[in-house]
Symmetry: none
Subunit: 414 residues, 2 copies
């Protein structure tokens, strides 16, 4: 019995609704998908509720579910995934914050919450912060560059807590907030105190930075503060290899998803040209996936953010194009690697392009297997056809389906 | 993004099976439903297991599930819901009993378990009981009139328990039973003792009541005892507003359902003419719902008992008529309020009219949304068509679906 390799492709925010601009079709219906069409004769499909019917998933909670971990048990917040995705190594008990480089006046009033958003010198600023701020009152501090104005900040010390409020007031004109403990544990009080001292120290270092002097001279807003939000405490997750036997690798350019993948012990590849946006190099991702399939990985997870990015910006034709490019990715992988694998293609949630936000609608799911499968024999793969497919599942079911159809499942019982 | 209002219509015992008298159609199939038909082009449908596949729900457990509370966690018995529905205010730890006015002989042998069922003087009898019996051995006693022969009895005291047996032998000719503790806690022993003393006291008061002397003179059976059953201890439930953000109101004439709704913190309206029976004034309920939708309620719950009442009595054509009246209620609300709302129409369980009892069959469920929805494009709404719809859910999923399609859901995760 041949054990097939598994290719899991997640189009972020893939699911959608009837779109006026597409004459009532969904983007998945409107997209030309010749490669998907060619494998329907050996596929089943259906609708999947990533967390549960009607529940609006985040990308992090949904990916945990898709990889078989109940988010209600394992999800501790976004900050630590972002930090891992930005390159941090985290230990149990580390507290990670999501941060923005921002611009404040001398009274710490916010002038620009993103310091112009595209900050060419972000890597240099992060380096300078890591050089000059190593610890605050015995707690180790590390900074990691994210995309654009984003930065992750990690605190490592004894008895730290993520039960502290944000310093980000989310409003131009407001002052940077004091972090406060949001429970009565000594760890929260200590952590809030460190966060406030750190914020002062960051302001001091960045205000005096020659990089910011140069930005000011060029008429750019100085990145003279980091606004912190979404504290989350790192807690080790079970590793995919341990609970499924699958050696996994991820191809992604999105910090959050890279972080989730790393948390599960997967190798993470971001090929040059992969951006996490609608301008990503799809074929570079396909090539990376092929290389991983050809090496000793059992499961290759290819994540495409473009579908979600287009949806949040309301770009209908870009979403259709992103789906068509995913179809080409599938075509390229099958052309070069061969069809000797199990493919699962779905979304982590719907982001209806007219809604521009995540929704709790079910998402279409397609499962191809080279043998082993009684096909659903439907004419196409989209939200409408998927209703007539044989799958009606939740995200937590996916890993078991993949193990089953790839001939890798173990019997439960005797 | 517009947040729609929500109209939830539950036809009690709506679900059914193939009915001989309807040539194999179900009552929902046989009913003429022009208003429902007119909204199918923007609706999805399916089958719902209120508790789980095959589980026969009570109306109380099912409504808890429909409102998002797991009955296995929150359900403590029917008595406290009935008492709340009859007008009681309950505190944590109060013990409520369902009661019947009944007729016994001088040896407390039952002559009529319902004292003739329709007791015109029930309100006066309850008033007399409340005047003459305030407490038994330090435990406060209150009586609340229900429909016909029904009465709720509430005991308030320290360390009371609902683990006591009924005094109702459920059999004519048997003697009123002694209540006994059914576990070994001191609270149960104490409560059983109070119940037995209370029963003696009730007999004494009612036997001497001039109201009963008048009844006897008129040849009517005296209502000279209250048979008690179904003790349940009151425990505060989570409030709908707190766990969903929805400000809710209920339109119902059924004590049990009114009690469940009150327990969840909802406003409860019983318009004049609403009876909880097949003779109810449907349009008065529609008007009440419209008024609530036009005020600041986010969710209006309209409960119709007639479908269940007809089913328990085996009245096929009355059940069909009740469904046709629900269709007219929907039409009237949409005509006057407009279609700018999310509608969910379902049953709390099946009560097959040939079975005359609740069953564990799945019930059909219809969800209309003015936008946001990819319709199921089925020709009608009934048990048979619903199998081909996209919904396949349990009762606990309903609230999340309503929040999602009314644009009121919060994202879980990032």
């Amino acid at each position: 019995m041949k054990r097939f390799k598994i290719l899991l492709i997640v189009g972020d925010g893939l699911g959608d609704r009837q779109v006026t601009q597409l004459k009532g079709k969904t983007p998945l219906e409107a997209a030309d998908k010749p490669n998907i069409k060619s494998i329907l004769n050996s596929s089943i499909m259906g609708l999947m509720d990533p967390i549960g019917p009607g529940i609006v998933p985040g990308s992090d909670t949904s990916h945990l579910a898709i990889f078989g971990l109940d988010p209600y048990k394992y999800y501790k917040g976004r900050g630590s995934f972002e930090a891992l995705g930005a390159g941090a190594t985290l230990n149990e008990g580390d507290v990670a914050f999501r941060g923005n480089f921002a611009t404040v006046d001398s009274e710490m009033r916010i002038i620009d919450r993103r310091a112009g958003r595209k900050i060419d010198e972000a890597a240099d600023l992060v380096r300078e912060l890591n050089d000059k701020i190593n610890e605050i009152e015995g707690v180790k501090v590390r900074f990691y560059k994210g995309t654009e104005h984003r930065v992750s900040v990690v605190l490592s010390g004894d008895a730290m807590s993520d039960k502290v409020s944000d310093t980000d007031p989310h409003e131009v004109g407001s002052r940077v907030l004091q972090s406060r403990p949001i429970d009565s544990s000594p760890g929260s009080e200590k952590t809030a105190k460190i966060v406030n001292a750190l914020t002062q120290r960051i302001y001091q270092v960045l205000s005096e930075s020659p990089i910011n002097n140069k930005r000011k001279a060029e008429g750019l807003p100085p990145a003279n503060i980091i606004l912190l939000r979404g504290a989350s405490i790192h807690s080790e997750l079970p590793k995919l290899k341990d609970y499924t036997g699958l050696k996994g690798a991820a191809v992604s350019a999105t910090a959050l998803i890279k972080g989730v993948s790393k948390s599960l012990g997967m190798e993470v590849i971001t090929p040059p040209g992969a951006t996490g946006g609608i301008d990503t190099d799809y074929m570079a991702k396909a090539d990376a996936a092929i290389k991983l399939l050809e090496s000793d990985y059992d499961l290759v997870f290819l994540h495409v953010k473009a579908t979600d990015a287009a949806s949040h910006d309301g770009l209908v034709s870009e979403k259709v194009r992103a789906i068509e490019m995913i179809d080409r990715v599938i075509g390229k992988i099958f052309d070069i690697y061969g069809t000797d694998l199990v493919l699962l293609f779905t979304g982590d949630h719907a982001t209806p392009v007219e809604l521009k936000e995540h929704s709790g609608d079910p998402v279409p799911i397609l499962l191809y297997a080279p043998v082993n499968i009684i096909p659903d024999e439907l004419g196409g793969f989209d939200e409408r056809q998927a209703r007539h497919g044989s799958l009606k599942i939740i995200g937590l079911n996916i890993i078991n389906l993949l193990l089953n159809y790839s001939n890798r499942a173990s019997k439960y019982g005797a």
